[in-house]
């Protein structure tokens, strides 16, 4: 008896019901956490789509205008946690007008109706008002986690509403926002019987908080794991806080300005000694050398050290690094110089991520900061390095080639040579070969930022080799449309492309017609794109939103800033006058 063809057909028939009951399928799928995996799963068949939708607890929306809150709520009825991102990344650098949009309020209104049991909200580059924060605090009784990163439009009054009303709050993470810091009284709004806080990050704020209220809060929140204090917290305050919370895993100190007596210094040292579990240390505002040793006892288990607001010299950094044998992530200011980076190379064999920020990015009189020598030194000592953000004033092709040879596992390579269009300072040639080496050698590269003098050759290399590249940032680079065409034709996984001040025009823009729907967004500013080019793009691709912002006094035909993104809801209706929506015309 041969195999029954009918059975075989049923076996392969993808529209046949799943062999599992829905509850089982949902249970299995609920174990999937990655939203990419979940998206893939939802495409298998209708049953799986439904099961995945019902079991999804966390939804990630990378562009708030790509979808509407109603559509999200319709598809995912049981969401407890939402991550929402708004403005284009270049808004961080003042390239986007303040009233551009990305208002969170419409989302909150829908969530209040559809997700009354919402627990977590994480916002990045969204416009958030005090009214919205109050609305959030009052309408979601189970609310636990609020994270605001690079948002603006709110003040400490909004934080007061959160502190007052969110009885189940576990995380309040206020990070690098444009916040109107009116007063520190918000902290005193946490009720005296409130004990659930696990994460408190108010490093963003400068106004004084009531220290006694803070001390009581920290004492009674026994599960507090993360505390990142603001500059207003002095060393003496810090000591008292640490005594209340030796269980901390992440600490952001306040100001490290010297004001201690010898006895207080000893007490502080003792307090740091109690922090056996510390894995992250940050803050260190105005860190001053005599007081750094007080941190040493807490450094043994550190994996992440953020010194990016501490003006340290090389020898100060070196002494500190000697205390941190397990360091995996390090952020520093370029005040440490190449010599400081040599110390990194010598002392941090497990380092995976390095970020070097410029202390004086706009000051032309600074002689050095860091150079290619520092980066090289790190690459020789830290072979596991896979994430770098490096601001420097000089670089060579040879150095970068050696660096990636030493560290071929880069996933994120963000190099900023601060003088636009600067060539290799030894050979005076373009930096094409540097980035060619990066994309050729680092096959896992996901994110790349290029700088320096670059011709179209750089982009030919990128198109040819960067097969895993998802995010690409380009500034003051390229020679012709061909450069951009290479990027669009060559990088199959490209999702976010941001370009400024490059000689790419309409031909380049339009060469990506087929591509943009598979990407989250394209940003082009100060390039050679015209309004007509944008209109053509909008006409050809109705499922893309094409938005143009014009600079004051620019030519009528020029499209100064162009933002293109895919959307299932068509052109947005909240665009301010300065944003011209070209879609659907």
């Amino acid at each position: 008896m041969g195999p029954n063809p009918k059975m075989r057909k049923e076996f392969f028939d993808s529209t046949r019901s799943s062999p599992f009951p829905d509850e089982v399928l949902e249970r299995v799928l609920s174990l999937l956490k990655s939203h990419k995996d979940r998206s893939a799963v939802s495409l298998v068949c209708k049953d799986w789509y439904n099961a995945e939708s019902w079991s999804r607890a966390h939804v990630f929306i990378g562009n708030c205008y790509s979808v509407s809150p109603e559509i999200v709520a319709r598809r995912f009825p049981r969401v407890k946690s939402v991550t929402l991102k708004g403005k284009p990344r270049f808004s961080d650098f003042n390239l986007v007008p303040e009233n551009w949009g990305a208002d969170v309020h419409p989302w909150l209104v829908v969530f209040a109706a559809k997700y009354p049991f919402l627990e977590e909200l994480r916002l990045k580059r969204m416009a958030v008002s005090d009214e919205s924060l109050e609305f959030l605090a009052i309408n979601f009784p189970n609310f636990k986690v609020l994270s605001l990163l690079s948002c603006d439009g709110f003040s400490t009054d909004g934080l007061a509403a959160i502190a007052t009303h969110c009885k189940n709050l576990t995380q309040l993470d206020i990070h690098e926002n444009g916040i109107d810091d009116k007063s520190g009284s918000w902290l005193s709004c946490f009720p005296e019987n409130f004990t659930s806080l696990e994460v408190l990050n108010f490093a963003n704020l400068n106004t004084d908080v009531n220290f006694d209220a803070l001390e009581r809060l920290v004492s009674r929140c026994k599960s507090l794991k993360v505390l990142k204090a603001s500059k207003s917290i002095s060393l003496e305050h810090l000591q008292r806080l640490l005594v209340c919370a030796p269980q901390l895993i992440e600490l952001g100190t306040g100001s490290l300005m010297p004001e201690l007596t010898a006895c207080q210094y000893a007490q502080l040292e003792n307090a740091f000694n109690q922090l056996k579990n510390l894995s992250t240390l940050s803050g260190l505002w105005e860190a001053s050398a005599p007081y750094l040793p007080v941190l040493y006892p807490a450094c043994t288990n550190l994996t992440f050290l953020n010194l990016s607001y501490a003006f340290l010299q090389s020898h100060e950094l070196e002494s500190l690094l000697c205390q941190c044998p397990h360091l995996r992530r390090l952020w520093v200011l370029d005040t440490v110089g190449d010599k400081g980076l040599e110390a990194v190379g010598s002392n941090c064999p497990l380092l995976e991520e390095l970020r070097v920020f410029p202390a004086d990015p706009f000051d032309e009189e600074v002689i050095h900061g860091v150079t290619e020598a520092g980066f090289l030194a790190v690459s020789y000592g830290c072979r596991r390095l896979h994430y770098v953000l490096y601001f420097c004033r000089q670089m060579t092709n040879a150095a970068v080639a050696t660096i990636v040879q030493n560290c071929p596992d880069f996933t994120h390579f963000r190099l900023c040579i601060m003088n636009p269009g600067q060539p290799d300072y030894v050979t005076n040639e373009p930096m094409d070969e540097a980035f060619g080496a990066v994309v050729r050698t680092c096959t896992k590269l996901q994110r790349l930022s290029v700088s320096g003098l670059l011709t179209d050759l750089t982009f030919e290399y990128i198109g040819q080799y960067a097969k895993n590249l998802e995010t690409l940032s380009v500034a003051f680079a390229g020679s012709s449309d061909r450069g951009m065409q290479c990027m669009l034709e060559g990088c199959p996984k490209l999702r976010k492309l941001e370009i400024r001040d490059c000689p790419f025009g309409n031909a380049a823009l339009l060469s990506g017609l087929e591509k943009y729907e598979s990407m989250r967004s394209l940003w082009m500013s100060a390039c050679n794109v015209t309004m007509n080019g944008c209109r053509l793009l909008a006409r050809e691709m109705p499922r893309l939103n094409v938005e143009v912002m014009k600079d004051d006094g620019s030519d009528d035909s020029q499209a100064d800033k162009v933002y293109v993104y895919r959307s299932v809801v068509g052109p947005r209706r909240d665009a301010p006058p300065c944003v011209l929506t070209l879609s659907g015309l």
Partner: protein, 196 residues
């Protein structure tokens, strides 16, 4: 215009100082005075540490001749506003406070420092602070020979844009005219003592 190198207070030049106005005021008057004293020591041209083969690029040449600030490009370098605002107020606050902050650079050091001149009562304290800051010895001042006994010499740029040796003018005048400090080393330092 005698030597008067007692290093204790004001370099003992008070008696010989020509003063047409209150100390620390009237820069135009001071200018006239200092020109008359002809105390300016010619310094070798400030050479920016450019490339490895010493090729200063065009931008550095501009800085030496015409110190007009370049127009800042919006949003470049790409530093988040938050970070910019966190680091800048520190400088702005410092400058706004009742102090006189000047930058101090040292040849060979990768970075500039900033000090508040008003916290020092005179040259000896200032020089000690510089020695501590950069971990070096500066040596003793003499009017004729500059700083002997060390390979370093502290210099400063005055309001005219001229580079002077620290100590050449009375302390008060120095306070009012010093725009920035630079510690030079090596042959340049030695050459200073010899005038022309």
């Amino acid at each position: 215009m005698e030597g008067g190198v007692a290093y204790e207070n004001d370099l003992n030049l008070k008696e010989t100082e020509l003063r047409l106005g209150l100390p620390g005021t009237g820069s135009t008057i001071e200018k006239g005075v200092s020109a008359a004293r002809n105390n300016k020591r010619p310094l070798p041209e400030t050479r920016e540490e450019g490339g490895a083969n010493g090729k200063p690029d065009a931008q550095h040449d501009d800085q030496e001749n015409a110190p007009a600030p370049k127009a800042q490009i919006v949003g470049w370098p790409p530093i988040r506003s938050y970070r910019k605002n966190s680091l800048q107020p520190k400088k702005a606050e410092a400058e706004a406070a009742a102090g006189m902050y000047v930058k101090v650079s040292m040849d060979g050091a990768p970075y500039l420092r900033k000090i508040d001149l008003t916290v020092y009562k005179g040259y000896p304290e200032l020089l000690r602070a510089l020695e501590n800051m950069f971990k070096l010895t500066i040596g003793e001042y003499s009017e004729r020979e500059g700083y002997k006994g060390s390979e370093y010499a502290p210099t400063y740029e005055d309001k005219d844009g001229d580079w002077m040796l620290v100590g050449d003018v009375p302390w008060e005048m120095f306070l009012s005219s010093c725009k920035k400090l630079r510690i030079i080393k090596g042959s340049e330092a030695i050459g200073l003592g010899c005038g022309a």
